[in-house]
Amino acid sequence: MSNDLSVTPAEQVSGPTTSPGSGGASRPGATSAGVPLRRRAGSRSGKGSRNRPNWGAGVAVTIWLLIVAIPLYVLVTASFQTQAGYAEGGPLSLPTTFTLDNFTNAFDQGFGRYFLNTLVVTVAVVGIVVLLVPPLSYAIVRNRSRATTGIFRMFLLGLAVPASAVIVPIFYVISVVGLYDNLIGVILPTAAFCLPICTIILSGSMRDITNELYEAMALDGASPRRVFMQLVLPLSKGGVATIVVYSALQAWNGFLFPLILTQSESTKVITLGLFNFQTQYGVNIPGLLAAVVMSMIPILLVYLFARRALVQGLMGVGGK
């Protein structure tokens, strides 16, 4: 049922998107429009009608840029101002004061601890995902039995289960097994809810491995284990990178499970810390926003270095 909507695009799209996406994505279009390799020199130099400057789009994009950038500007400038300076100048003015106190204060409020907890959750979630998903995807792609098809269906069904709708029974399960207010209790459901999308992403990239390669290894009499280690894993490195980045992002940004499954300072993660900070010190906007900036730094670093993996992964959510 609900699996239908997820399977189809994978079949349709994976051909065209993955092959150009992996290499010269932009080449074919540009060359055929008559401006081969001129883009770096000045993209608007071509005179074909598709290369006319698009003023309407320019205006619309500028508006959207302002919408996206203004709050980010407020976020960064406010976090370096004193509370008095911020209150006086307002959020949009150029900053007149400069201080790092907001960041040191955030640490004093316990953000160092929250940071560490979030890191533990993230590493553990990524670990579980990386241990469970590659073998699963391998079986989905290579095992033709009905049991595997059933399991794949189950994961597609799971894709449609919104985490927020099952917080009550998850709270029940975690309480019954005695993991309430324990980071393990946060890790397990967080990892579980990463599985469907990660499975779909990784199975997609494993499907791109051609049959001939499998056959060659089968001729050598390779065991499934050897095929997995020597052929499948090395050739789906990109997919594995994507699920690592995706699950890390989910775990780092997770709010719902920590909200309902933890309560004490010692198990608090950073998103929950932000929420509590706001309810307690809502007036101290520079302090609050400094905490937000701190919570973002690791993600921005990952974004800088692994943008491709992340973007491919998120595109896969809809495209596959």
Partner: protein, 306 residues
């Protein structure tokens, strides 16, 4: 659930037809883990909706009491209306913006790549960070409204229902448009360039090409994206929790938030489970209806043999 249990072991022969194929065993750890922490709760939520449980001790069966209480609950009825309004507003605001941005970003110009990288940033932030940030930016005393009184009047956007709803819709637009734009971008890149060249030769302009080529080619993507928006819009409540806390009064208490409130503030887990069941059923039903109406499932069956 039913497919998993009886077929735990490999059917003899099925996997061994060819050398080097992995057995079902490879899939089992992940399947069990997922079943335990994601699918079992789905079943449990239905069971819990017929019980009374305060979070301590064990749940007691109370029959349909929660359900009849739910039917008479005016806040519940109001929350359903609010959920539908917010979801609908989310879809009509995010879809056009995301589609245009996605198609725009699919172009090959370098400036588009650079700007897309900036547009993508909201998606990296946690829901908590986004909500805390916007709450601060829109703060009635220290935020943008206080600085731009000519635009925002008295500036307390959280003080009445219509502006509070507008804030929630706008923040969702800010937060989720990048994801959907990315989905559209992926699909727009997959449109064969030949189609555009042919249209150009026929003298079609940009607008014409968009409506005649891009839009029809993006149809399936649009369905996927809208379904994601509907399911997300009906079930997420973190933005509401942090931005408006359901207020003023119960004026932004959407159903998902009401469930959270009943469970984790009122400790009425039975009633909350009933609300959760309503949410899951509604989200699934809307998705299925959309799939049917759009003929998406028929396309699937054409490809089934491939």
């Amino acid at each position: 659930m039913t497919t998993r249990a009886p077929q735990g072991r490999t059917r003899p022969g099925a996997a061994d037809l060819q050398v080097g194929r992995p057995g079902v065993v490879w899939a089992l750890p992940a399947a069990l883990f997922f079943g335990l922490f994601a699918l079992l709760p789905m079943v449990l939520v239905l069971v819990l909706s017929f019980t009374q449980w305060s979070g301590l001790g064990s749940p007691e069966l109370v029959g349909t009491e929660n359900w009849s209480r739910l039917l008479d609950d005016p806040v519940m009825l109001k929350s359903i209306g609010l959920s539908l309004v917010l979801t609908a507003l989310g879809v009509v605001t995010q879809t056009p913006v995301a589609m245009l941005l996605g198609v725009w970003a699919a172009g090959h110009q370098w400036n588009r790549a650079v700007l897309s990288a900036i547009f993508f940033v909201p998606l990296l932030l946690s829901a908590a960070a986004v909500s805390v940030l916007w709450r601060a930016v829109l703060d009635p005393n220290f935020g943008v409204p206080a600085q731009m009184e000519w635009l925002f009047g008295d500036g307390n956007l959280f003080g009445n229902q219509s502006t509070a709803i507008a804030v929630l819709v706008f923040v969702s637009l800010w937060q989720f448009t990048p994801l959907h734009a990315l989905i559209y971008q992926g699909a727009a890149k997959a449109v064969p360039p030949m189609l555009y060249e042919a249209a150009e030769i026929d003298g079609a302009g940009r607008v014409r090409s968009f409506f005649a080529i891009t839009l029809p080619q993006l149809r399936n993507t649009m369905i996927t994206s809208v379904i994601l928006m509907v399911v997300g819009g009906l079930t997420t409540f973190d933005t509401v929790l942090i931005l408006t806390n359901g207020g003023p009064g119960t004026d932004t208490t959407i159903t998902a938030f009401y469930m959270y409130q009943k469970a984790f503030r009122g400790f009425d887990f039975g009633l909350a489970s009933a609300i959760a069941v309503v949410l899951v059923v509604a989200a699934t039903a809307i998705s299925l209806v959309m799939v049917r109406l759009s003929g998406y499932d028929k396309m699937r069956s054409e490809l089934e043999g491939v």
